[in-house]
Amino acid sequence: MLVIDFILEPLQFAFMTKAVIVSVVVGVTLAIMSCFLILKSWALLGDAISHAVLPGVVVAYLLGIPFGLGAFVAAMLAVVLIGYIKSNTKIKEDAVMGIVFTMFFSLGIMMISKVISSVDLTHVLFGEVLGISNESAWYTIITLTLVSIAVLAFRRVFTVFCFDPTHGRAIGLPMTLLHYSFLVLLAIAITGSIQTVGIILVIAMLITPGSTAFLLTKRFSTMIWIAVAASVFSSLVGAYSSYYFDIATGGTIVFVQSIIFLLVLVYTKLLPQRSR
């Protein structure tokens, strides 16, 4: 079979076309976010948000609305609770995040055990992009495209936010607004991606592509391009693996990303620093 057939043949099915487009949009958006997230050292926060969405997903399931919407509400509640506990107690931020995200996650597990079948639970936890509904697909494509546009349009102020917030405040940039904007964008990006990679693995898509790119370049714009390329390639491999071999999409995407990371790591260790 020709390579071109291998690629095109599945696309005659609407569900597969939909899956490929959604996977690519997810890959692009999370890769862009990942560049900011790892430079801001917010990987743990991303993990916290992704777990905290579970009860929101269950409620969305019961109400018959897109998962992403319910997940977004849960994510915002978790972020507000984390912020409140952090500013009003002496407990350190990482511990607060750990408490809050496991609280939400465990509540979600309890709710699921009563109301959803175990097959659906697997989809929520690990993703199932081939079975995505039209409604959810459009929700994901529209929200994530808007997130990507917003982050790229304001990339310069977000860079100051990550690199030197003190300077930002000293010249009167709205750093608190940027802080919350970034959190909201992050929550939307995570919740829009759940159907593709699932709650457990979405954090990998928010850390690995940016980290891979960070090893390869000292320019931020190049970093974004490399992260997006690595992420989109992984997403496509994930979608096609689901189709041809019936392997979980999310698992494949993240595993391919990890392999790319390892290859790049080996490459950068073998190559002298100055030639990069």
């Binding site: 304001f154 310069r156 102020v157 100051v160 690199f163 003190t166 405040r169 370049t217 000292k218 320019r219």
Partner: protein
Amino acid sequence: MSNIAISLKDVTVNYGDKRALTEASIDIPYHTFTGVIGMNGAGKSTMFKVIMGLVKPESGDVTICDDPVGIAQKHGHVAYVPQSEDVDWDFPVSVYDVVMMGRYGKQNAFKTAKKEDHEHVTRALEQVRMLDHKHHQIGELSGGQKKRVFVARALAQGADILLLDEPFAGLDATSEKSLIELFVRLKEEGKTVILATHDLLSLPDTCDHVALVKYTVVAHGPTKKVFTKDLVEQTFDGLLHHIKFD
């Protein structure tokens, strides 16, 4: 317009029940080079934060270039050169990018640089003699060069007042000397330079004004008047055997 660049009047700042500054008052005139000295945790950083508007005092008045702090921020009157340990030197930004950040206060929400912004950045890099390094990633520079980049950002910002937190920490004697020459030149060109430093040895040769800080401003004025054995010992609890006073 008065000749006072920064004026604090009875400024009090507490962090919870920990006192940082109590009724601190100081007037720093334009075109001076002031060294702010005091022990660790004596309130130097808090004083800087108040001047930059990062910390709101519980009581007291702060005036920057005759404006309240919020207005001064909008005008970009004050620029801050961070301590080296507070900067992520692996961050993928070039020297040019960092200096351009000085222009962000004057640009639209998307921070698209105009011709005029590029001119300011280039001029600022020339002033600190770092134009040849503009494409380098910031972590590739030496300690002294790193400081110069942030000074250039302050110049690109158009700030009249430069705050420098421990600028000589970790620098060798040569870099320190050339950095001091740069500060003196900037002062002569009309900037007001204020630095927090531990380096008491070279201070009398460097700064024309001194502020002694110990939970308040103990004394402030021309170096010759204020940098005396009694006052400095009072500020440092008498732990100074290695300093020679004229």
